[in-house]
């Protein structure tokens, strides 16, 4: 098992290399020209050419790639082409913010999803099950553009309970409590979809597990409902929970762009969006490599946990 983990981590290197190559050439082949953007609208062709030279964009693509690669190891990814400032200063803080939102989202999605799924599963077919499932189904299919605004409008403008967006109260001291307060609405909004999926998976797993012969065995021994639910059903539905949780972490990292926009969350999503639009490949590269690393690590953890959770898989397969 330990060897497998190391192997997977070692895999990361070629994987990231492939990603960086792909990303580089896709952003090169893409429609955009990193220098031709809003600014260039207002520049003459000679001026544009000058900037192009300044960033070495007149060189052949493979040279540009090598330059980027060198920059990656020497000065944190080089200089952004569209923002003209060091990539590390752009990408890292944004990524950190996205991670914060991602973590909060995951916590909300998993906590509520598991709770709802569990309750629904136990009360399978009853009113509370139907009501809860309907509720999460509705919640997770509310278009975020619409729902997010309504949330902001109600909680921030009408009732003044929550801040209208951002990460910190710019007037306050920016403490942890403040961050939490700012996290509530975006994390909740971003978690809805995953919450539904987790809830449905957990529900299905609970139903299946609750009807199984081994749960019948526990029941025959007079174990209380709480013990059976908490320990045994709980343990046997862990794999789907872990699996969907791993996926949730992933999906929130790449999927919160729109939530970030609406809640003015200074995350990686909008940075990447802008960079992609402007073919700012140094930023795209670094951003995607960070995301990819996170994914691989999260997926690795998920896989290992899944194997550990399944006694039959612990030895790495039969």
């Amino acid at each position: 098992m330990a060897r497998r983990i190391l192997w997977r981590l070692a895999n990361l290197v070629p994987l990231l290399f492939v990603i960086s190559l792909l990303v580089f050439f896709i952003s090169k082949a893409g429609p955009a020209d990193p220098v031709k953007d809003v600014l260039s609208e207002k520049m003459s062709p000679e001026q544009i050419e000058q900037i192009r030279q300044a960033y070495g964009l007149d060189q052949p693509a493979w040279k540009q790639y090598l330059h980027w690669l060198r920059d990656m190891f020497t000065n944190g990814g080089g200089i952004s082409l569209s923002v003209r400032s060091p990539v590390s200063g752009i990408v890292f803080p944004a990524f950190l913010n996205t991670l914060i939102l991602g973590a909060a989202t995951t916590v909300v999605a998993v906590a509520l999803g598991v709770l709802i799924g569990f309750v629904s599963g136990i009360r399978h077919g009853r009113l509370i099950d139907r009501a809860a499932m309907l509720l999460v189904q509705i919640g997770s299919n509310l278009p975020i553009y619409w729902f997010g605004l309504i949330v902001i409008w109600l909680t921030a403008v009408q009732w003044n309970w929550l801040p209208p967006g951002g990460m910190h109260d710019l007037r306050g001291d920016g403490g942890f409590g403040d961050l939490l307060l700012h996290l509530i609405a975006p994390a909740f909004a971003a978690s809805l979809v995953s919450m539904l999926i987790i809830a449905r998976f957990v529900r299905a797993a609970v139903i299946e597990s609750a009807g199984s012969d081994y749960i019948r065995t526990y029941r025959s021994q007079g174990f209380g409902r709480a013990a059976i639910l908490g320990k045994h059903i709980g343990r046997n539905i862990l794999p789907p929970i872990v699996n969907t949780t791993g996926l949730t972490v992933g999906s929130v990292i790449t999927g919160v762009v729109f939530v970030e926009t609406i809640f003015s969350w200074p995350g990686l999503g909008s940075v990447l969006l802008n960079a992609i639009a402007g073919s700012d490949y140094p930023v795209i590269q670094s951003g995607i490599l960070l995301v990819a690393t996170t994914f691989v690590v999260v997926n690795l953890i998920t896989d290992v946990l899944l194997d550990l959770l399944n006694p039959r898989l612990r030895h790495g397969g039969a």
């Binding site: 020209d33 520049m43 300044a54 003209r84 060091p86 003015s264 909008s270 969006l273 639009a277």
Partner: protein
């Protein structure tokens, strides 16, 4: 807004875009300059304290200046005793360092990117001289009447003076994140995507700024920005969505009106499109669109129609100039004359999402005269790249710009026509170009306005640009804020603004 002026406090500004960078020679975008101009100062300033009238040019880092009669030589007496916020002195050497950075390829700190950006103003600079420690001289190849106006200009190519020491310390790319100037506020921090904080410069040479701190926060989503203002999270926002004006006013926010701001929304023609190479089609397009209805109905009167490329608020603005009347019949006829059946002319209208209502409106109006246009609209950034990389099927694409200085006509013509290869498709391009040159190189202030208007009229003949509207509501201000003035300029002065406690 009517509370007494007060010292101290923090003002939070909600901007509609993430700012670019705080390097005066590389920065672009209005929102960036709205921050930058508090950090960096220019040799001359505009007096932004009045909501009406073209702002007067007033001393800035220069206390006085002389302009040669042929308007080629500008000599500035620099203000003495001014220090950059890093403690280094401001003097002629510092100015020279600044100028050489973007004009002198032999200079150790020459920067191509800056040169490209600043070329807009300094392309014709013949020489720069340090006369003495506090006197500098700029000599241009041609008469350049509008130079003083250009110095504190917004958008790109503003001439803010940075500390040479800072550039040496942080490098060409580092200045943007460590901006050092002489302005009323100094840079404290920028958290990308989240906010930029400026604090009062205690050693400021001019009137002491009232605010302790100004924070700028980008909120890209229109509705979120309005919500932030309404919830009190920010005190001032730019680019109020027209639909929110009435509700904001009802809720006690002030949404000042200014019909003379140098801002214009226009469409460029794409000359690689086969239909638009015919001037009759272009003229038909302008004839087909009812700009008055667009301004009054779709924008609810929060915009005014623009019928000349000389934007309102420009020194050479002429309200009576109309390029083409709204006349669908004339449009149909022109298209028929050009040899096209209804529905035969087809192209794409490119727009950013905020301009989408306009684009859809135009689309409907074009349809009425037999032009089949489709709309593609993109987020602002995507739009920027898309519109810089036009395809032959693209027809017209949205632009937003404008200046007080009348040489805007030349700038606009360069970018909308000359650089796009439009001269080939206009029968009158020679006349237009010479009219523009005549106006640009004219040393006589009295004749300037007249010449520029003539140039604009010459340009309008073959319909190579399509002016549309100008906004007259732009900012919304919380009642906590006092002293906010929206002058006839696309930025504002923060140094005398105060916030209620």
């Amino acid at each position: 807004a009517d509370s007494k002026p007060r010292d101290g406090g923090t003002l939070i500004v909600g901007q509609y875009q993430e700012v670019t960078q705080f390097d005066p020679n590389r920065q672009y975008s209005w929102e960036t300059w709205r921050i930058d101009r508090n950090i960096y100062e220019t040799l001359v300033n505009e007096d932004l304290s009045s909501p009406t009238g073209v702002p007067k040019i007033v001393p800035g880092l220069a206390t006085s200046w002389t302009v040669s009669p042929d308007a080629t030589t500008y000599t500035f007496k620099l203000r003495q005793g001014v220090k950059f916020t890093d403690g280094t002195p401001f003097d002629a050497q510092a100015v020279q360092f600044n100028v050489r950075r973007f004009t002198d390829p032999t200079f150790q700190y020459y920067d191509k990117v800056s040169a490209a950006t600043m070329g807009l103003v300094y392309a014709d600079l013949a020489s720069f001289k340090v006369i003495d420690d506090y006197t500098v001289e700029y000599v241009f190849k041609h008469p350049f009447l509008d130079y003083l106006r250009q110095i504190p200009n917004s958008g790109n190519a503003a001439s803010g003076i940075f500390s040479p020491a800072a550039l040496q310390k942080y490098g060409q790319d580092g200045l943007a994140d460590h901006p050092v100037g002489t302005g009323p506020f100094k840079f404290q921090e920028r958290v990308r995507g989240d906010h930029t904080t400026l604090v009062r410069n205690p050693d400021y040479w001019g009137a002491r700024p009232r605010l302790d701190k100004v924070i700028f926060k980008p909120i890209g989503d229109d509705q979120s920005r309005v919500a932030a203002l309404r919830s009190g999270a920010v005190d001032l926002i730019s680019r109020v969505p027209p639909d929110s004006v009435a509700t904001l006013e009802k809720a006690g926010f002030s949404v000042p009106e200014n019909k003379n701001v140098p801002q214009i929304i226009y469409y460029n023609f794409n000359y690689t499109n086969q239909y638009l190479q015919d001037k009759r089609v272009r003229q038909a397009i302008i004839h087909a669109v009812d700009r008055k209805t667009l301004a009054e109905k779709i924008y609810k009167g929060y915009a005014g129609p623009a019928t000349s490329i000389i934007n309102q608020g420009n020194e050479a603005y002429d309200a009576s100039a109309v390029d083409y009347q709204f006349d669908p019949e004339a449009a149909k006829k022109l298209i028929a004359d050009a040899g096209y059946q209804p529905g035969e002319v087809k192209f794409t209208i490119l727009s950013d999402t905020t301009g989408q209502p306009t684009a859809e409106f135009i689309q409907q109006q074009l349809k009425a005269v037999g032009i089949d246009a489709s709309v593609e609209s993109f987020e602002w950034i995507t739009y920027g790249t898309r519109s810089a990389n036009l395809k032959p099927t693209d027809g017209i694409n949205l632009g937003e710009w404008g200046y007080i200085a009348p040489n805007w006509v030349k700038i606009a013509h360069n970018y909308s026509v000359v650089n796009r290869g439009g001269d080939k498709y206009s029968d009158t391009s020679a006349a237009t170009n010479s009219a523009i040159e005549a106006a640009a190189h004219n040393p006589d202030p009295a004749k300037s306005k007249e010449l520029w208007q003539a140039a604009a009229q010459a340009w309008a003949k073959d319909a190579t640009i399509f002016p549309l509207i100008s906004f007259n509501r732009y900012y919304a201000v919380s009642p906590r804020v006092g002293g906010f003035v929206w002058p006839q300029q696309d930025h504002y002065d923060l140094s005398q603004i105060w916030v209620a406690s």
